[in-house]
Symmetry: C2
Amino acid sequence: MSSSTFPQINEEECRRFRASAELAGRKWNAAILLAGARGARRFSEYQALVEGISDRLLSARMKELEAEGLVERTVKPTTPVTISYTLTEPGHQLISLLHPLVNWSRARQAIQSDEPLSPT
Amino acid sequence: MSSSTFPQINEEECRRFRASAELAGRKWNAAILLAGARGARRFSEYQALVEGISDRLLSARMKELEAEGLVERTVKPTTPVTISYTLTEPGHQLISLLHPLVNWSRARQAIQSDEPLSPT
């Protein structure tokens, strides 16, 4: 079994590829990273851009993305303190890598709309 | 809030982007699509390439990917019947779009290895 598109990928790379895709695709993560790429900084700005997420979940996901090195949390010593969340360089790279999904999903939507039935 | 990378994305596109990322990143899906791109056709070939997945889960995910139009199931009327699973054109496109994640995860791994501690 081989393929021209993925000839040189080894098992270690498969595992990392899979882990990365699952990190990027974990529920809410893509939307949070996209919000950061679109300019969100404050927690409330993320809430506004990530439609439907609860405070609790957004907070949990932010911690995870911070632990993964994709988001950086900065605390400014104002009164009260100003907390902001920015994408790190790997975070920016990841959301840029995923950007072609926008066109892919648009094209797919168009195909599905043409079909007589689509249960999904 | 705006960004040079994602200036023209609207809310509808955000939703579709998020849904696509979550479909691609749903546990096992990327690995199954990758197996198809690497030449797997028979169920047993997918099992061999998707390390750690159970028969039951692989079967369930295949049905979902078929329903999403990313995998096509073909039955040849041999005795016994020969069932094969191939990526559709959107399936091929999706795994190709995700391919840059291989290099991204390699670079990220390298950075994390340089760091003194990494709990993840």
